[in-house]
């Protein structure tokens, strides 16, 4: 056990910082996300997430009292503001995460893992994706495994989030040669090969934002 650090438990403010960082990231990389989505989708992923995260940041100021309430608000806001598949997918991610957070006032490492795992299970339940389908799952699943391993090895939440972000980036890159088996990209068949999946890219941004926000905590 090490000394207690500020990154040992994520508060509501910490979560807002995460969301704010993600919002900034989708703004910064919006054209990139859209470019990926033009290659193998309907070219609106950047715009969808930008609109969604702008709506989220408006909705969480002032923030609710608990992480659970915050995550629920984020989920519902994404559902109503992101018209594409990311709405129900990211929406479910946050809604399931909210349920896992319960009414805890802050989320320590294992609670954060539980939130992320519940979120990922929600994505699987909703989108029915499996590893290798060339979706956001291919970034999120390795990210959560890395997060869990890092915590188990004694790291704090901040370090675990950094490990998760790195794994997410690798997972994103690994989608490039895959054949899309889900979503709009799956209509393209062979033409989906050789392009990074936009959902995996935005998921990598999400984990990156988590790591950044905890670093600055």
């Amino acid at each position: 056990m090490g000394t207690l650090t500020v990154t040992d438990a994520v508060s509501v403010d910490g979560l807002v910082a995460w969301l704010s960082s993600f919002r900034d990231a989708v703004h910064e990389h919006g054209s990139y996300l859209t470019e990926l989505d033009s290659a193998i989708g309907d070219a609106d992923h950047g715009a969808n997430l930008t609109r969604g995260m702008d709506a989220v940041m408006t909705a969480v100021v002032p923030p609710p009292d608990t992480p659970g309430e915050l995550l629920k608000k984020v989920g519902m806001t994404l559902v109503t503001s992101v018209g594409g598949a990311s709405g129900p997918l990211y929406g479910t991610f946050f809604l399931r995460g909210a349920a896992a957070a319960g009414d805890a006032p802050a989320l320590d490492g294992s609670a954060m893992l539980a939130v992320l795992r519940a979120g990922l299970e929600g994505i699987v339940a909703r989108g029915k994706a499996e590893a290798g389908d060339k979706t956001m799952y291919d970034a999120l699943a390795p990210a959560l495994d890395a997060f869990e391993r890092s915590l188990a090895a004694g790291s704090d939440v901040g370090a675990a989030a950094r490990a998760a972000a790195e794994a997410a980036a690798e997972g994103r890159d690994a989608t490039e040669p895959l054949l899309a088996l889900k979503g709009r990209a799956s209509y393209l068949g062979e033409r989906s090969v050789g392009h990074i999946d936009p959902g995996a890219a935005s998921s990598a941004l999400l984990l990156d934002a988590l790591a950044d926000s905890l670093d600055r905590a």
Partner: protein, 233 residues
């Protein structure tokens, strides 16, 4: 109707309504999101609430994320009445479902009808290609019944099939139509369509049940009137 496009959904509903002369079941639409193409699970919830009925609601969807939104809506709102998410194609399924529901069928039957809605098109294409369509049951032998000849130019196509299905569906009778060596349940516009009975085809109408005679008379009247299409150019 859950669609990425409000215009698409509205037009599809109008098309379906034509088949039942503006009557038929309640159809609510959840389409579009954030001012453009897309779907919103909370809109689906609102539409479901408007369509809510103890008889249940059939949900038709266009592309994949419409399914995601519909499923999320059910997860969030947990309706107490039966809700069936249909794998039917949007337009064909809607038309088949509206016609069947207008004839008074229950949710399970309407759902099955919607899911089989590609059959007439597939049959028609298969026939043109010289293949045997699999659809209405083969008539083992010609059953006793009223023999009629189709006089209207397009024979038993979509509108006449719907007219028969609607008229017969409202009666207490089991009615079958045989043509071209196949047999169709007369309350199913889809099955009637797959008979592929064109102008000049001979059809045999049989019926049992309390309204059997009325059912046969109704079908005869429709056929002899050319389903109202005789003056069409």
């Amino acid at each position: 109707m859950v669609s990425h496009s409000p215009a698409l959904a509205v037009a599809a509903v109008e098309l379906a309504r034509e088949m039942v002369h503006g009557d038929g079941p309640v159809v609510e639409i959840a389409a579009g999101a954030a001012g453009g193409f897309g779907t919103d699970a909370t809109d689906v919830t609102v539409a479901l609430e408007r369509a809510a009925s103890p008889d249940g609601v059939l949900v038709l969807m266009d592309l994949g994320s419409a399914v995601l939104s519909a499923e999320l809506s059910l997860e969030l709102s947990a309706p107490t009445y039966p809700v069936r998410l249909s794998s039917a194609p949007l337009v064909e399924g809607l038309v088949a479902a509206v016609v069947r529901a207008a004839g008074g069928a229950d949710l399970a039957v309407v759902a099955r009808e919607a899911e089989g809605a590609l059959l007439p098109k597939a049959s028609s294409l298969a026939e043109h290609a010289g293949e045997r369509p699999a659809a209405a049951a083969e008539a083992a032998e010609s059953a006793p019944g009223v023999r009629l000849t189709l006089i209207n130019p397009q024979g038993l196509h979509a509108r006449p099939a719907a007219q028969i299905a609607l008229a017969v569906g409202a009666l207490t009778a089991d009615v079958a139509v045989e043509a071209c060596g196949r047999r169709a349940d007369a309350t199913s516009s889809l099955e009637l369509l797959t008979l592929g009975a064109g102008q000049g085809a001979e059809i045999t109408v049989t019926a049992t049940g309390a309204d059997a005679e009325q059912a046969i008379d109704t079908v005869r009247d429709l056929v002899l009137a050319g389903f109202g299409e005789l003056e069409a150019s």
